[in-house]
Amino acid sequence: MRLFFALILAALLLPAVSGEDHTVLVSQSADGSSYYFEPEVLNIEVGDNVTFVWLNGSHNVVQSSDSASNVYLAGGFSSGVPQVGGNWSLPSDYTSQDSTLYYICEPHATMQMKGSIIVGTGEVPLPEISMEFGNFPWLSYLLVFPLIGALWTFGFRDSPHAPRIIALFTTLFTLIISFIVFFKTGSKSGYSLMEEYVWAPNFGISLLLGVDGLSSPMVLLTGIIGPLTVIFAWHEKEKPALFFALLLVMQTALFGVFITLDYFVFYVFWEIVLIPMFFLIAIWGGENRRYASIKFFIYTFTASVIMLVGFMALYFETGAETFSMIEIAKQNGNFSESFQIWVFAALFIGFAVKIPSVPWHTWLPDAHVEAPTAGSILLAGVMLKMGLYGLIRAALPVAPLGAEYFVPVMVVLAIVSILYGAALSLGQTDLKKLVAYSSVSHMGVALLGVATMTELGLAGAVFMMFAHGILSPAMFMVAGVLLHQVGTRDIPKLGGLAKHQPNTAGVFVVIFMGSLGLPGMAVFVAELSVFIAFFESHGYWLILPIFGMVLTAGYHLWALQRAIFGEDSEQIDIKNVHEAPWYEMYPMFAIIVLAVLFGIFPHYLMDPITVACYDILNFMGVA
């Protein structure tokens, strides 16, 4: 958008030069065997005018991202629906600077009805990515403080209270830092607060830290979830020191994933996340924790080693001896299409398991159901975001052609995830399992946003990551409160809770409404943006994800009706049900406040995200 205004401004400031006029014939052979633009490649000067002149047949002219692409580039030039007869002139701002425009005739793109206009010297100049090095190591603090806190809690492992106080103090401190990071990043284009610590110069590996509008919401999310987890697990009795230490190590690793800009270090943090999570599930989990923890570990590890091969292939292909994401993304023009397809496939497998997208989602319900509530909160709130974050940060910019190739796959997987996740949620009786499947469905929406490959779709996806990142922990908190207060989270056994704990039930209702996408709360904004973007790129296929939303509303309301309202249940000791204690209420309340805040004022989050998504698309050569 800003580029657009800049162009208009530039056009106004430049002295009006009347350029030369060119025409391109839009034509087909009489027997319909070949379709072509004449001339296929047109060389013009900056400021010239181009008119497309219809000759015969039914055609249109729309811009595509490159010579190989067969799809309309969202936001690019379009003459509208195919028509018979008429002339279309290219708006002057498309020819106002050196660039190459690729265009196709939509109905006949597969018959090679394509052409290009080379303006001036051609080739769009690579976007300058601003890299701003900070003068204060805020980002290292994010990595170091939770780690210090972890060691500190371990130092007090014999005390019953010290670990949780230290953990709370540490997470509150990192929350403050993540707020600072979020506001310092603002909605600037490019990376800010960068830091670089050389680790292995021979391989070009360094701890390259930096945030942009894509990572700063994730940093904020990790910061917010931290203290909430600690407060919610306030009365953990079994090995509290180890528990809180693992939570803090986990936080460091998650911050690491979100702020590093080096493929190798990214991978290292990505894997470190698994270790504390494995122990959190395995030691503090439910009945079937041994199975769930191992399944979780093996599933995600298998996927990520394939991803590592993709990273190494990228490294060798650039030949620049660097693992820096920025440097490698700058070279994406040199990667052949088949290479990009292979690399994107390898990376996509790694990320899709983490998202998780159907059919790789089966570890999630197991892990969620068995994990302790605090573990589920981190898992659903932050860890699930790693997959999509990685897809947008690490896969899209380096393999734009590969991504484009996989758009149909991503769309299908996303829609199947939405529908299948929602349908399975309808059938669940365990509230935690219901939330787990609803996560599959919600992340499907976000994947759909990425698959549109438009600014709005990507931004909607990132917004969804944030919104789901605060609301699904709230849903798990509901399940945790029920287990704690009522003794079960089995929906058919519950009933009539609203009469006995009216305030708590009220909070539950608001959280459920937020999660199902009530306008005015954060999830709605995300869903709306993704669906608009999807409609623009894929048209009436939108009916499928929309149907998923109907199911979503269905299972949320049905679960609410059965569990909270209705007759008093016979199967639980309803007389002893009280309001939830403060340490369970406050976190839920805080989340509701945030969800409403970002639901009513989405621009606080949407502005930085949009700028970052624009940058990413710019890297891909789509914008």
Binding site: N202, V268, R290, F297, I298, T302, V305, A313, F316, E317
Partner: protein, 497 residues
């Protein structure tokens, strides 16, 4: 100093080998034997480290090999690096042995003598510059370890393992020797340099004649013989039985040092002497590598004895290391050397814990690991670090070395030899597969309650060694992996000439 002073570490060991039986005449005190062996090993270690950092004072040049004993003995960065590993492993084994064998165990002086002579054999192998020295080195080491495996002669499993090891070992030596004789027959050389230049000559057309079949067959024999030493499929069948049956400190030596020695021999023979006829052997090695890691990992999953499980894991790890050899680039070789080194430490560390758990009477089945974390946090942590390192999970040392290994091989693969990419992908998928059984041990240690008493006194030596292993694998290597890589690069440069 004269350059033959470079033989000083070996002389120290030989002195000790002779001194310990002599000591036995004067004293029955078993501490004296272990002190004697430890002193000589520490002395050798210090000397080797000094020779690495101050080569000038020893009239040695790290970049150029120094030859002694009429060119039969070669001292270079590669040999010194591996000698350091051998001596360090032997030192750990020697320290652990004192707590593993109690006062009543007979034949302790013989044990320490054999330990030192086995180490001596490994050091000779590392410095061998011709096939004969190589063979003699391997045999010195092997014969000592046959006796060590069967050390508990009243124990059926130990003697069975010893007999099996001896028979298969003798058979494999015969195969190696036959392969060497074929090489000698066509080239007329026994030194690696001579064989190397002859093979170069075949490639350049300086030497007439078509030797490809003979070379193929001799490569096959040598690989089969050395394959027994490094325990790769299909020459691996002895390893699980021997690892299970031998006293655990001996298993530590076999898994950590003896395996590394096998690789030293394989590197010297294939990467240096026979490198120019790589077309004859690259496919055999590639297939062996792929088969080893797959069979090793699949077989490990169903094991109930920890020794057998780790034996199969060793077979798989040998497969990973093998993939770098057909790549024949200096980067891939650095990776292979790094992984061989790190493997010695992580496998050695794991076996130290196994030996300790066995020695306090808990047994060797997986069940005996139930609740180990409740009995000793430190031992459980050391085991966890070793296991995660064996899988190759960052940030532990095993990840770093495996990364070097796959990095180098993938680079060679992308540069042209595209079939190497299949090996790398096979290795990567196998790493994921192996996670299952390693996690099984971790699960037993942390998630179950111990059967029987929680208060068990673990020997202090083992606790210090575990702490050292944790620091090495989880802190030192990950932080200073650039220096590790530099060492390995230098060694691979020395190896490849």
């Amino acid at each position: 100093m004269d350059s033959s002073s470079l033989f000083l570490p070996e002389i120290l060991l030989i002195a000790s080998i002779m001194a310990i039986p002599a000591l036995h005449i004067f004293t029955e005190n078993r501490r004296s034997y272990s002190i004697c062996s430890n002193v000589s090993l520490v002395g050798a270690f210090i000397f080797l480290v000094l020779s690495w950092y101050y080569p000038d004072s020893l009239s040695m040049d790290r970049d150029v090999s120094t030859y002694i004993f009429y060119d039969h003995f070669k001292v270079d960065a590669f040999s010194q690096l591996f000698k350091i590993v051998f001596v360090l492993t032997a030192l750990i084994v020697s320290l652990v042995s004192t707590s593993y064998f109690d006062e009543s165990e007979p034949h302790q002086p013989e044990y320490f003598t054999l330990l030192l002579s086995s180490t001596l054999g490994m050091m000779v192998t590392a410095s061998a510059n011709d096939f004969l020295t190589l063979f003699v080195g391997i045999e010195i080491s092997a014969f000592s370890s046959y006796a060590m495996v069967a050390f508990r002669k009243k124990d059926d499993k130990s003697t069975e393992a010893g007999a099996k090891y001896l028979l298969i070992g003798a058979f494999s030596s015969a195969l190696t020797l036959y392969g060497i004789s074929l090489i000698y027959a066509i080239t007329g050389f026994l030194t690696f340099d001579g064989v190397n230049s002859f093979m170069d000559g075949i490639n350049n057309g300086v030497v007439d004649g078509d030797f490809s079949e003979v070379i193929f067959i001799s490569c096959l024999f040598i690989m089969a013989g050395l394959g027994f030493k490094i325990a790769v499929v299909p020459f691996h069948a002895w390893a699980p039985d021997v690892y299970e049956g031998a006293p655990t400190p001996v298993t530590t030596l076999l898994a950590a040092a003896s395996k590394a020695m096998g690789f030293v021999a394989v590197f010297r023979v294939f990467v240096f002497a026979l490198d120019s006829v790589y077309e004859e052997w690259e496919l055999i090695l590639g297939i062996i590598a792929l088969a080893s890691m797959t069979v090793g990992n699949l077989a490990a999953i169903s094991q109930n004895d920890i020794g057998r499980m780790l034996a199969y894991s060793s077979i798989a790890q040998a497969g990973y290391i093998m993939i770098a050899i057909p790549a024949l680039t200096s980067e891939a070789m650095s990776g292979a050397i790094a992984h061989t080194l790190v493997h010695a430490f992580m496998k050695g560390g794991a076996f130290v814990v196994v030996g300790c758990v066995g020695a306090v009477g808990l047994g060797y089945s997986l069940d005996s690991y139930k609740g180990l974390a409740k009995r000793s946090q430190l031992l459980a942590l050391a085991m966890t670090v070793c296991l995660l390192s064996l899988v190759g999970i960052p940030p532990f040392a095993g990840f770093i070395s495996k990364f070097f290994l796959f990095y180098g091989t993938l680079k060679a693969g992308m540069a042209g030899n595209s079939w190497l990419i299949i090996l790398v992908i096979g290795g990567v998928l196998n790493s994921a597969l192996s996670l299952y059984y390693y996690l099984k041990i971790m699960r037993y240690m942390y998630l179950y309650d111990p059967e029987g008493s929680e208060d068990i006194e673990f020997p202090n030596t083992v606790r210090y060694i575990s702490l050292g292993v944790i620091l090495l694998l989880a802190v030192f290597f990950p932080l200073y992996w650039e220096s590790l890589f530099e060492l390995c690069k230098e060694a691979s440069a020395a190896l490849m000439g």
